[in-house]
Symmetry: C2
Subunit: 131 residues, 2 copies
Amino acid sequence: MALSIGQLARRADVNVETVRYYERRGLLPEPPRTAAGYRQYDPDTIARLHFIKRAQDLGFTLNEVEELLSLRVDPGTSCEEVRTTASRKRREIDRKIRDLRRMKSSLEDLIAACDTRRSTSACPILEALDT
Amino acid sequence: MALSIGQLARRADVNVETVRYYERRGLLPEPPRTAAGYRQYDPDTIARLHFIKRAQDLGFTLNEVEELLSLRVDPGTSCEEVRTTASRKRREIDRKIRDLRRMKSSLEDLIAACDTRRSTSACPILEALDT
DNA sequence: CTTGACTCCGTACCAAGGTACGGGGTTTAG
DNA sequence: CTAAACCCCGTACCTTGGTACGGAGTCAAG
């Protein structure tokens, strides 16, 4: 069952205008239309929108999201190209994970200090991402 | 040895105007000045700028960065308040880590598929963050 | 067969996060 | 002592990622 743009937007929790904007940006493929010109979306598009929103939350720009979404092994993209981009992104992600883990551990120290009413250094979390 | 705004900016790899902007936003404390009114920065400020840039890269807004930087156990903030904010941030970070791990694993599958010249599903990474 | 909710499209506007400009004073190397 | 390189400040401008507006067509319920 196909979705109208309004139904899609509600179910993906984004604005209708955002859907149109993503289409213009090339993040969403142009969907088929009804005779009257209304967009008809496959329900999979909900997941695509969730992915975009989540990736943004993880610090990727829309250009990067586009790059991630276009990564696949298919005729039309050289394997080398896919490998290169995917590996680069993987390293970037590794670094994000490492830094988030450090921040998390700082926050845990802070929570612990709080529980025992110990005072901590001037700005404990700052050291998390140092160097 | 104190740094001028230009030296600080160069060493933290940001624009001079960005430093002034962060000061206006309250992300950097107002530094002491020379007799002529020139800002004099403690070298620690470099780390603070690195932290800000990195946290942005991890998907935090400047408002969130400000919140993170102000987290500490000291007289002036109630322990309960610090605990609450720190815990909330920790959960948020956990979720980010989880999703990044999924994306990473998708990318690894993709790289492996590429190596063996197998074709993968239409958009393999999309499934990474699915529900 | 009309009224309200939806959709179309183009264009204008908005918020966040900077970045540039420009007229002035300062510092420092030659 | 002067030219290059900094710094001051206020204000204007820019990019990214949306959001809103508004006139026109569509569709479903009553």
